[in-house]
C-alpha cells in the first residue's frame, strides 16, 4: 500500500520569541515494514540532520532571530509492506526498554493490573493485555493532556493513543518485558480521523512486535513509523525549548492518503 503524507505543525506565540531550538523526529526510515520513496521537510531555516540514541532521524532546528511563529511541514510518499515483523539493525540492548521513565512509572494500580498478565510471554498474552486495557480506558479525546503520565491516565480510566501506549509500556515494564513507544501515522478509512498516531512495540522472541492498543491491532498494515523511544518525549515529532514568547498556541494538521500503486512490471 502506498501512502501520501502531509503533516504541518504550526506554533504561534503571543509575544516574540528571542531564540528557540527544536528536536524534530519527522522523517521516517526505510525498514522491512516500510519503504520511503520521497520525503521533504519545509522549515523556516536549514536544520542539521543526525541520528538519535534510538536510531531515529533527528533534525535540530535553531532560530536565533526574533520570531512569533514556527511552521514545519513534512511531505512524502511511503510504501507499507505486509511484512509483520520489524527487522532492524540496532546495537542498543533491548533491556534498556525495560526501564521506567517519569511518564511510564507504574503506581500500585498499574502494578496490580499488570500482574494479571504475568506468566507466559507471548503475542496472545500481549493481545489480551491490550484488550483489557482498552476496556479499562476507552479512547476518549480530550480526557487527558499531552503531559499526562501513564498512572494519571490509567486512574482517569480514559485516554488517547499516547496514553494507551504509555500504560501499555508501563505494564510491560512491570512484567519485565522490554517495550517501546512508537510515534507515526495511521491511514484510516475515516478521513476525519487524526492521522498522527502512537502505539507500542514489545520485544518478544528477539523481534519487536507491534501492539496498537487504541485500534486493537497486532498486525500493522496501515501504520507508518516515524520514531521510537522509551516514551513520548523520546519519540514525539516536535520537541522544543524557547526563550520568550509568552503564551503558545499549537496547531497540527496531518493528512494521510492512499495513492495508486502502479502495477508491478
Amino acid at each position: 500500500m502506498r501512502l501520501t503524507i502531509e503533516h504541518r505543525t504550526e506554533y504561534r506565540y503571543e509575544q516574540e520569541v528571542a531564540h528557540s531550538t527544536q528536536y524534530l523526529r519527522l522523517t521516517p526510515k526505510s525498514s522491512a515494514q516500510q519503504r520511503v520513496l520521497s520525503w521533504d521537510l519545509d522549515m523556516p531555516e536549514q536544520a542539521s540532520r543526525s541520528t538519535d540514541a534510538f536510531g531515529n532521524v533527528l533534525h535540530v532546528l535553531t532560530l536565533d532571530r526574533p520570531h512569533d511563529s514556527i511552521s514545519i511541514t513534512a511531505r512524502g510518499e511511503v510504501d507499507i509492506s505486509d511484512v509483520l515483523l520489524e527487522s532492524e539493525e540496532q546495537r542498543l540492548s533491548p533491556l534498556v526498554f525495560q526501564r521506567f521513565t517519569p511518564i511510564t512509572r507504574a503506581d500500585q494500580e498499574i502494578k496490580d493490573f499488570a500482574a494479571r498478565f504475568s506468566g507466559q510471554r507471548s503475542v496472545s498474552q500481549m493481545a489480551a493485555l491490550s484488550a483489557a486495557l482498552i476496556e479499562k480506558m476507552p479512547y476518549t479525546p480530550g480526557s487527558t493532556i499531552v503531559t499526562s503520565t501513564a498512572a494519571e491516565a490509567f486512574h482517569a480510566g480514559s485516554g488517547v493513543c499516547q496514553d494507551h501506549a504509555h500504560v501499555f509500556l508501563s505494564c510491560c515494564r512491570v512484567l519485565g518485558i522490554p517495550a517501546r513507544y512508537v510515534s507515526g501515522y495511521l491511514c484510516t478509512d475515516d478521513s476525519n480521523h487524526v492521522a498522527s498516531h502512537a502505539w507500542a512495540e514489545v520485544w518478544l522472541d528477539g523481534v519487536w512486535q507491534t501492539v496498537d492498543v487504541t485500534n486493537q491491532v497486532i498486525t500493522p498494515s496501515h501504520h507508518l513509523k516515524l520514531a521510537v523511544g522509551l516514551d513520548y518525549l523520546d519519540a514525539c515529532p516536535v520537541r522544543g525549548v524557547r526563550y520568550g514568547g509568552g503564551i503558545e498556541s499549537m496547531h497540527a494538521f496531518a493528512l494521510v492518503e492512499r495513492s495508486e500503486v502502479p502495477a508491478e512490471q
Binding site: 531550538t21 528536536y23 540514541a53 535540530v60 535553531t62 536565533d64 525549548v241
Partner: protein
C-alpha cells in the same frame, strides 16, 4: 611536649603509635610542632579562618535554610604520606581508573564483559545511569572519565581500601590547592625543611587533559556551571580562573548548524570542549529532564556527532554506581589481566535475598547506603544510630532492597587536628584526583577530608566535614 590526646585503641593513627611515639615520616613535623606554644597554633587557626573568608571558600549546604553558605573547616596539621606508600597507592589508582574507562567504552560498544558472563546484563542496562544515547559514540582516546576522584580509606591495621569511585563531577580539588597555599602562607618554614611534593600545577594538567579530549587541535574550552546557588560554585569559578577559560551557564551557550556557540559581546564564538559541572540529567532539556533550565537545548545532538567534547562524558555514572562497585576488582582482571592492587570494601548487595537477610540481621554493625546516593545523604551508620533510627531504616530497606548496599563499619584511620586543648585524633579519608587524557596523570596526594566531630565517621563536607593539607614527602635526594 605539645598537649595531645592519644589515638583510640584499635584505630590506626596516621601520626602516632599506640605508645604515644610518633611515626617516622612525622618525626620532622613533630619536632617542629613541639617547639611551638599552643597559643601560636590557635592564633594561626584564627588567621587561616580570616584568610579563607577573604578568599571566599565556602560551601552551600543543602537542607539548611536557603542560601546558607558556610566555611569548610580547615585544619592545619598536615596529613603526611611517605613517598613509597604513595607510589604504591598511585599505581593502584591508575590501574583502577584505566579499567573503569575500559569498562565504560566496552558497555557503550561491544559489551564484551556482559557477553562473556562476567556482569549481569540487567545490572548495566537496567541502571538509570546507563545512557542509551552513548551506544557506539566514539570519544577521543576512548576516555569517558577525564576527571576521577577515588575515595580511599584505611582500616585499623592501616590497609588501604577504595570506598568509592567518583566518575561524574567529583569536587574538592580547589580545597586541595587552597589548603596548600594556606599552609605555605601560615608556615613557610615547614616547606623549606620538608620535601613536600607540589600540587599547584593541577589546573594546568587539567587544562591539558581537557584539550586532549577534543577532536580539534586548538580547542576552545569552557567550564559549564549550574550557577552560583550550586554548592561547589566557588570551585567552578576558581578552576575556570586558574585555567584561564570562560565560566559559563547554560543560557550563555546555544546550538546551531551542528555546533555549540558561546554568546559573547563580539558575537557567537565556537566552543569545542565543555568541562561540565552539571549532571547528565540537566545537560540538554530536549534529551533529558525537560524542566532543566541549566543545560543547553540541542547539546546532545552535537555531542553525538563528535562536534563538541563533554568532560566527563555522558553516562559515566553507571560505572561509579554502588551497584557496579562490587564488580570493579573483576573488571581489572577482565580488561587488564592483572590482579587488583587496591581492594574493595566487602559489600553486600541487598538485591540478593541471601545478602539482604544477612544485612537485616546485622544492621547495628553495618553501614547501609543508597545505590545511587552520594554526599553522605540517605545512609545508615549502624553503630552510630539509635534503635529507633535502625528500625525506621529497616523498613525502608525491606521496601526497596535493590536500592541499597551494605558494608562493614570500617573504623577509618585518624589523624590529629588542632583543638583548643591541643591536638586530638579525628577520622579521615583521602580523595586523590586522577586525570585521564592521552595518559593518566595525578598530582601527589589529593584532598584529605576530616570528620571534625570526635568519633564521627562521616567526612563529607555536606555533613560538616573539614579538610587538611595532604603531603606526599618526596624521597630525600642523596
Amino acid at each position: 611536649m605539645f598537649p595531645c590526646t592519644p589515638p583510640g585503641t584499635g584505630i590506626y593513627d596516621e601520626m602516632l603509635l599506640q605508645d604515644g611515639s610518633v611515626r617516622e615520616h612525622y618525626a620532622a613535623y613533630w619536632k617542629w610542632l613541639n617547639q611551638r606554644p599552643l597559643e601560636e597554633m590557635e592564633r594561626k587557626r584564627r588567621e587561616a579562618e580570616l584568610l579563607f573568608h577573604r578568599v571566599g571558600i565556602t560551601f552551600a549546604v543543602y537542607g539548611e535554610s536557603r542560601g546558607t553558605e558556610r566555611l569548610i573547616p580547615f585544619d592545619s596539621l598536615p596529613r603526611i604520606i611517605p613517598a613509597q606508600e604513595w607510589s604504591a597507592l598511585e599505581e593502584g589508582i591508575r590501574q583502577r581508573v584505566l579499567a573503569l574507562n575500559m569498562f565504560l567504552h566496552d558497555i557503550y560498544h561491544d559489551q564484551r564483559i556482559i557477553r562473556e558472563g562476567r556482569l549481569p546484563a540487567e545490572q548495566v542496562f537496567g541502571n538509570a545511569h546507563y545512557q542509551p544515547c552513548m551506544q557506539d559514540v566514539n570519544l577521543p582516546n576512548d576516555i569517558y572519565a577525564q576527571i576521577s576522584g577515588v575515595d580511599l580509606i584505611r582500616d585499623d591495621s592501616g590497609n588501604w581500601f577504595v570506598l568509592e569511585d567518583n566518575l561524574r563531577t567529583p569536587s574538592g580539588v580547589s580545597y586541595m590547592i587552597e589548603n596548600r597555599r594556606m599552609m605555605m602562607r601560615l608556615f613557610p618554614e615547614l616547606f623549606s625543611t620538608n620535601p613536600v611534593a607540589p600540587v599547584d600545577h593541577y589546573p594546568s594538567l587539567l587544562l591539558e587533559t581537557l584539550q586532549q579530549g577534543s577532536f580539534v587541535s586548538h580547542p576552545n574550552v569552557v567550564l559549564l556551571t549550574p550557577g552560583r546557588y550550586n554548592s561547589a560554585y566557588f570551585e567552578h569559578a576558581f578552576l575556570a580562573q586558574q585555567m584561564g577559560i570562560e565560566l559559563v551557564e547554560g543560557a550563555d551557550l546555544f546550538v546551531k548548524d551542528g555546533h555549540v556557540f558561546m554568546r559573547t559581546t563580539a558575537g557567537p564564538q565556537r566552543v569545542d570542549v565543555i568541562y561540565r559541572r552539571i549532571d547528565d540529567d540537566y545537560l540538554d532539556p530536549l534529551a533529558f529532564r525537560q524542566d532543566s533550565a541549566l543545560g543547553v537545548p540541542g547539546l546532545l545532538s552535537v555531542y553525538r556527532e563528535g562536534n563538541v567534547a563533554i568532560a566527563n562524558a555522558v553516562g559515566t555514572g553507571v560505572a561509579d554506581d554502588k551497584s557496579i562497585y562490587p564488580y570493579v576488582p573483576d573488571m581489572i582482571r577482565f580488561y587488564l589481566d592483572e590482579e587488583p592492587i587496591l581492594h574493595n570494601v566487602p559489600t553486600w548487595q541487598c538485591r540478593n535475598p541471601k545478602e539482604l537477610d544477612h544485612v537485616l540481621h546485622h544492621l547495628p554493625d553495618l553501614v547501609v547506603k543508597e545505590v545511587h546516593g552520594a554526599g553522605g545523604y540517605g545512609m545508615l551508620v549502624g553503630p552510630a544510630s539509635t534503635a529507633e533510627q535502625i528500625a525506621q531504616f529497616r523498613e525502608r530497606l525491606k521496601a526497596r532492597p535493590d536500592n541499597y548496599i551494605a558494608q562493614p563499619t570500617l573504623s577509618l584511620s585518624t589523624c590529629p587536628i588542632f583543638t583548643a586543648a591541643g591536638i586530638a585524633p579525628r577520622h579521615i579519608d583521602l580523595r586523590p584526583f586522577v586525570l585521564s587524557g592521552r595518559d593518566i596523570r595525578m598530582v601527589p596526594g589529593g584532598l584529605t577530608r576530616v570528620a571534625m566531630q570526635q568519633g564521627s565517621l562521616v567526612v563529607n563536607s555536606s555533613q560538616g566535614g573539614g579538610t587538611k593539607d595532604t603531603w606526599v614527602l618526596e624521597e630525600p635526594s642523596c
